[in-house]
C-alpha cells in the first residue's frame, strides 16, 4: 500500500507492506539509516524519531500510521551541512563510543530540550530512560545533554537580540535546530 508522509521537511512516498514498521520504511525504503534497528520492541530507543513532534520508537509505529504525518529523524536535525547543537555536544563531550545508540539518544535529547531547555539531572535521567547505551555508562551522555542545554541557553539569549533576522530559516523547521 502507498503512503505519503513528510520526512525531515520533504514530501516522500513509499509503497509499504501492511505490517511494516515506520523504522523499516525509513531505513530500507527512504534511504535514511540514521535511526537504528536493534530490539524491534521499544526497549532500546535506538530508533527514536519525532512523529508530529513527539518522541516515539519508529519500530513501534506501523508505517501505514505515518501516512499523512510528519517525521523527523536524526538526519533532519540541524541546518543543511551543519550539526545540530545536540549532535555537536555529543561529539565534543565524548558521548559517542560505538555510536549505535547515539542517533536515538540525540533525537531523545532534542525532544527533551524542546520541552525543558534547562533540565535537572533527574529530568535527564527520566527523559533518556528509554534509550540504552552499553558503552559509555551514560556519564558522558549526561555531559553532552548539559552542554547542549547550555549552548541552547546561549543561542536563545542571542536570538532575542537578533530578532527579525533569518525569518525564513525559522520557518524551515528551525524548531528542531
Amino acid at each position: 500500500m502507498k503512503i505519503d508522509l513528510t520526512v525531515n521537511g520533504e514530501k516522500r512516498d513509499a509503497d509499504v507492506w501492511a505490517g511494516e514498521s515506520l523504522l523499516y520504511t525509513l531505513r530500507e525504503q527512504l534511504g535514511l539509516p540514521g535511526s537504528k534497528n536493534a530490539c524491534e520492541q521499544g526497549e532500546c530507543g535506538s530508533c527514536s524519531v519525532l512523529l508530529d513532534g513527539k518522541l516515539v520508537c519508529a519500530c513501534l509505529v506501523l508505517a501505514a500510521q505515518a501516512d499523512g504525518h510528519e517525521v523527523v529523524t536524526v538526519e533532519g536535525l540541524g541546518e543543511e551541512g551543519e550539526l545540530h547543537r545536540v549532535q555537536e555536544a555529543f561529539a565534543e563531550t565524548g558521548a559517542v563510543q560505538c555510536g549505535f545508540c547515539t542517533p536515538g539518544l540525540i533525537v531523545a535529547t532534542v525532544a527533551l530540550l524542546e520541552e525543558k531547555p534547562d533540565p535537572t539531572d533527574d529530568e535527564v535521567r527520566e527523559a533518556l530512560s528509554g534509550n540504552l547505551c552499553r558503552c559509555t555508562g551514560y556519564a558522558k551522555i549526561f555531559d553532552a545533554v548539559r552542554t547542549a542545554a547550555a549552548a541552547g541557553a546561549e543561542t536563545s539569549a542571542g536570538a532575542e537580540t537578533d530578532a527579525g533576522a533569518g525569518g525564513e530559516a525559522a520557518e524551515n523547521g528551525a524548531s528542531y535546530s
Binding site: 505490517g19 514498521s21 520492541q41 513527539k54 513501534l60 509505529v61 506501523l62 501505514a64 500510521q65 531523545a108
Partner: protein, 263 residues
C-alpha cells in the same frame, strides 16, 4: 494483509462489523512487537489513530470519560493526574517516554495483560469500560471486562471506546516492583486507596493472578490488610519472579501504600 484507516468512530465500527477479525491498533506498543517478531500476521489491521472521537478525555457531571486513545503521557498531565492520581502514577511507570507517548489506556485494556499497569488504578476507582459496535454501546465494570490472562469480554464486532470513572477523591497511590525504574513489566504491582467517605480500603494487584483483581476491607482493618491482599492473590512462578516472592512483595507494598495514604 491489509490496513484499514477509518476517520470517524462510525466508520471504524462499520469496518469492525465487516471485518470482525480485524486487529485494532492504536499506539502499537503491543501489536507492533507481535508483527516485528513474526508472532502475528492478522489478515486485517484496523488503524484507529485517525479517529478523533477516541482521543483525549472529557468530564460530564463529575464523571470522567477517558477515551480509549488516551495515552499514558496524557494521563500524567496535571489536570487529569489531580483527578486520578493513582492512574497517573501508574502511567509514569509504563515503559519509557517513547512508550508513554504512544501507548494508550484502551490498548492496556485490550491487551488485558495481568501486568497491565493502568488496570489496578482503574479497578480501585470502580471504572467501567465503554464498548461499542455498529448497533450501540454497552458498559462493563473493568472487573467483568477482564476475564483471563490476555482475555477480555470484548466481542469480535466491538471496539473499546472509553473508560468511565467517577473519581473517588480518596487518597490513593500506585506501586510497582521491577528490576529498574523504566522499561519494566511489573513483577507485581498494587494500586491502593483509603476512601474515608465509604470507610473503605481498596487495593488492586497486578501480575499476581490471572487478572488484576480488587480486594476491599473496612478502614478499621488496615492492620490485617497487607495479609489479606497477599492472600487474595494467586501468582505463578515465571521468568520475572516466583509466586512466593510476589505474595511477599504484595504484602510489603500494601503496608507501604497504607502508610502513604493514611498518614
Amino acid at each position: 494483509m491489509d490496513v484499514l484507516t477509518p476517520h470517524s468512530l462510525e466508520e471504524a465500527l462499520a469496518l469492525k462489523a465487516e471485518h470482525p477479525d480485524a486487529v485494532p491498533i492504536q499506539g502499537g506498543t503491543d501489536l507492533m512487537v507481535e508483527l516485528n517478531f513474526d508472532r502475528a500476521r492478522p489478515e486485517t489491521i484496523l488503524n484507529l489513530n485517525e479517529v478523533a472521537e477516541l482521543r483525549g478525555w472529557t468530564r460530564e457531571n463529575g464523571t470522567l470519560r477517558l477515551c480509549s486513545g488516551l495515552t499514558y503521557a496524557e494521563a500524567m498531565e496535571p489536570e487529569l493526574a489531580g483527578l486520578l492520581p493513582a492512574l497517573a502514577e501508574a502511567s509514569r511507570t509504563v515503559g519509557s517516554p517513547q512508550i508513554r507517548m504512544r501507548g494508550t489506556i484502551g490498548g492496556n485494556l485490550g491487551t488485558a495483560s495481568p501486568a497491565g499497569d493502568a488496570l489496578p488504578p482503574l479497578l480501585v476507582e470502580d471504572a467501567e469500560v465503554e464498548l461499542a459496535n455498529a448497533g450501540g454501546t454497552r458498559t462493563l465494570p473493568v472487573s467483568e471486562f477482564l476475564v483471563g490472562p490476555k482475555k477480555s469480554a470484548l466481542a469480535d464486532d466491538e471496539l473499546i471506546v472509553a473508560v468511565r470513572v467517577m473519581p473517588s477523591k480518596a487518597r490513593q497511590t500506585f506501586m510497582k516492583v521491577g528490576p529498574r525504574n523504566a522499561m519494566v513489566i511489573a513483577v507485581c504491582s498494587l494500586a491502593l486507596s483509603a476512601d474515608r467517605e465509604r470507610e473503605e480500603l481498596r487495593a488492586a494487584f497486578g501480575s499476581a493472578g490471572p487478572v488484576p483483581a480488587l480486594v476491599t476491607a473496612s478502614l478499621s482493618e488496615a492492620e490485617a490488610f497487607p495479609e489479606q491482599v497477599a492472600a487474595a492473590s494467586s501468582p505463578i512462578d515465571d521468568v520475572r519472579g516466583t509466586a512466593a516472592y510476589r505474595r511477599h512483595a504484595l504484602k510489603v507494598l500494601t503496608a507501604r501504600a497504607l502508610e502513604r495514604v493514611l498518614t
